[in-house]
């Protein structure tokens, strides 16, 4: 049994103009101790997936279909009270610390203690103190800074504190939503190492969400590339990076500046994202796709490249042979 198994999940937002399908027929599995990254541009639905896994979707969101099985239990059918026993205890979230993710009027250690006490109300004072010390050690915050207020921390320290908070109850699954986006690259690197180290040490499942493909690649073993609510390519880090097959993945990688393509950055001429109000089976990327030939009116399908590597496209031949050097 997988730790997490998401099956045909679709999530829509009820808007004034109608239903916007933000997540469309998503499938993925995650085993204990594995890490899976979601990458894609803003609005592609990656955060919606994260929020659905936490039961924290906004009020106007509707789960249109599918299942989220976590340790064999279907999360999509939980009530709010049942969710409260899952959140923080079995599934925890690492937020972006740049904003006010920590309450400004509470000392940091109180906020982390709160997470522990909520799920272990009977914990003794000494056990609680031991656990706190352990957590702060784990994320490398000196114990004397425990009682400080969030504004007395640097950005990196705040992010570490948030990681410690997520780890407080030894969750089986951690969801990290853009945890390093607002940090400078050096601190970002430290935090990413921290997350990886902790995840490997605790054998926790990790779902890592970011718009930054380099960040995702440095943390995750497997990657899902998302476009307009759908997963368009999935594979191991090496597969997606070394031989991207889907035209969108190639576009995403090409728009990245690296020493190899310093004089040859091809920021593609992307059209606006497709209108997700329209429910269609047709390829959503066709409008911006450089390889689209006769795709209009056809529905894309999953094409296997290897047992772990798949892409979602109308053009199986092109996907299977790859298309030149990326």
């Amino acid at each position: 049994m997988s730790l997490l198994s998401v099956d045909h999940l679709s999530i829509g937002y009820q808007t004034k103009k109608g239903m916007l399908k933000a997540v469309d027929n998503i499938r993925f599995d995650l085993e204990k101790g594995q890490s899976l990254g979601f990458v894609g541009e803003s609005g592609c639905g990656k955060t919606t997936i994260g929020m659905a896994l936490m039961g924290l979707l906004p009020e106007n969101a509707v789960i249109l279909g599918g299942h989220i099985r976590f340790q064999g239990e279907d999360l999509a059918s939980l009530t709010e009270t049942q969710w409260q026993t899952v959140r923080g205890a079995k599934i925890a979230m690492i937020f972006q610390a740049a904003m006010n993710a920590l309450n400004p009027v509470m000392p940091v250690n109180e906020q982390i203690k709160e997470a522990i006490i909520t799920h272990q109300p009977d914990i003794s004072k000494t056990d609680l103190a031991d656990r706190m010390k352990e957590l702060f050690d784990l994320v490398d915050i000196p114990a004397r800074r425990m009682k400080d207020y969030p504004h007395e921390y640097s950005g990196g320290m705040k992010q570490r504190a948030i990681i410690a908070m997520a780890l407080a109850c030894d969750p089986a699954l951690i969801i990290a939503d853009e945890p390093t986006t607002a940090l400078d690259v050096i601190v970002q690197d430290q935090i990413l190492r921290e997350i990886k180290k902790v995840q490997e040490a605790t054998r926790t499942g990790l779902v890592f969400i970011s718009h930054d493909i380099a960040v995702v690649a440095s943390v995750c073993e497997r990657i899902c590339v998302m476009y307009a609510g759908q997963i368009v390519e999935t594979g191991t880090r090496k597969e997606v990076f070394k031989s991207p097959r889907h035209p969108y993945t190639r576009t995403l990688l090409n728009s990245y500046l690296s020493l190899d393509n310093l004089n040859d950055i091809r920021v593609p001429d992307m059209k606006e994202s497709p209108d997700q109000m329209i429910d269609t089976d047709e390829c959503r990327f066709a409008g911006s796709c450089a390889y689209a030939k006769g795709c209009a009116g056809r529905s894309p399908d999953w094409i296997d490249i290897s047992p772990t590597h798949k892409a979602f496209c109308c053009n199986p031949d092109m996907i299977r042979r790859g298309h030149g050097k990326s």
Binding site: L56, W83, R87, A101, V105, M106, T118, H151
Partner: protein
């Protein structure tokens, strides 16, 4: 947290501002038209008597001398004798102040607590029928014209239904007789109800709206999402994480209202014939009763200045981000 040095600096600042107010008040009164003697005109008064009175009150001395005497008296705790009552100003103010404090401080505090509590609930159930009813009622309360509303309550509850007395603070007959302390307290409370209700309802609206909007902006903060992600119960999120942050701006407002509550409300006190500072102040100003009016204004200035300082310090204590 505020440092002792900052508190000292602030106290010096308060002292300087107060001295400026003290001076401004003195000259403001002397510049205003009319003189105290003409207000107590007795047709029988001879010019010699008038001159004698003026001399007795010290009004024949040069302005600067009057000012120096005024400052000296203030710092030695002599606030003078009321021109009108012929009694020490301090005695008059002490007598009026207790009634004003009883009415205005009580109503401000009650309205603040109720407003914060109801505003919190309204914001939490934003968009629901409960929220709509509370917000609209609060808006109506907030825009009520005090004299109109006071008279309306007085007319219905006091006159038509006879539930409450029409004015004053006590029933003289009861106080002359040997009624028990308990009966006397009950009597004052009975008189207090109607003006208290008026002020409570009017103040409640603004505190409710203030807390509601403050709470709504706090609820959008990321740390509320963090609190949810920890698995906290809704009640804990609302009371421990949201309400505490949302109450901060309300505290400023309450602090200042409390300070201003010592000057009472001229209109309310007039309508309910409540013998407080507000009524007395109007009387003193219109009768050019310099010592009484000056002392009233100085008292208000002092309390407002101190309240500002206290709110400042309180804020630093409640919000760890603020350091002085």
């Amino acid at each position: 947290m505020a440092k002792p040095g900052y508190i000292l600096l602030k106290l010096v600042e308060v002292g300087i501002i107060f001295f400026v107010i003290l001076t401004a008040l003195f000259f403001l009164f002397r510049l205003s038209p009319g003189d105290p003697i003409s207000k107590m005109v007795d047709p029988m008064l001879t010019p010699e008597d008038m001159a004698h009175l003026i001399q007795q009150m010290g009004l024949d001395r040069p302005m600067w001398e009057q000012y120096l005497i005024y400052v000296k008296n203030f710092f030695t705790g002599h606030f003078g004798v009321s021109f009108h009552y012929g009694e020490p100003v301090a005695t008059i103010i002490a007598d009026k102040l207790k009634w004003t404090l009883l009415l205005f401080t009580t109503s401000t505090l009650l309205a603040a607590f109720a407003g914060v509590y109801l505003g919190k609930i309204a914001a939490w159930h934003k968009g629901s029928r409960l929220d709509n009813v509370m917000s609209v009622s609060a808006l109506v309360c907030y825009t009520l014209f005090i004299p109109w509303f006071a008279l309306l309550l007085l007319w219905i509850l006091g006159f038509k239904w006879g539930l409450f007395p029409l004015g004053g603070v006590l029933t003289p007959a009861l106080w002359i007789s040997n009624a028990s302390v308990f009966a006397r307290i009950l009597d004052v409370l009975h008189h207090l109800m109607l003006p208290l209700l008026t002020l409570f309802i009017i103040n409640l609206g603004s505190y409710l709206l203030l807390m509601r909007s403050s709470m709504l902006s706090v609820l959008r903060e990321d740390y509320i999402l963090t609190a949810r992600a920890k698995g906290l119960s809704e009640k804990k999120i609302r009371n421990k994480h949201a309400a505490r942050n949302a109450a901060l701006p309300v505290i400023t407002s309450v602090g200042l209202s409390l300070a201003f509550s010592i000057n009472g409300g001229a209109l309310t006190e007039q309508i309910f014939t409540w013998p407080g500072i507000g009524r007395e102040l109007i009387f003193a100003v219109s009768n050019n009763d310099y010592p009484l009016a000056q002392a009233c204004f100085l008292l208000i200035a002092l309390v407002v200045l101190c309240a500002n300082l206290i709110v400042d310090l309180l804020y630093a204590w409640l919000d760890p981000r603020i350091t002085y």
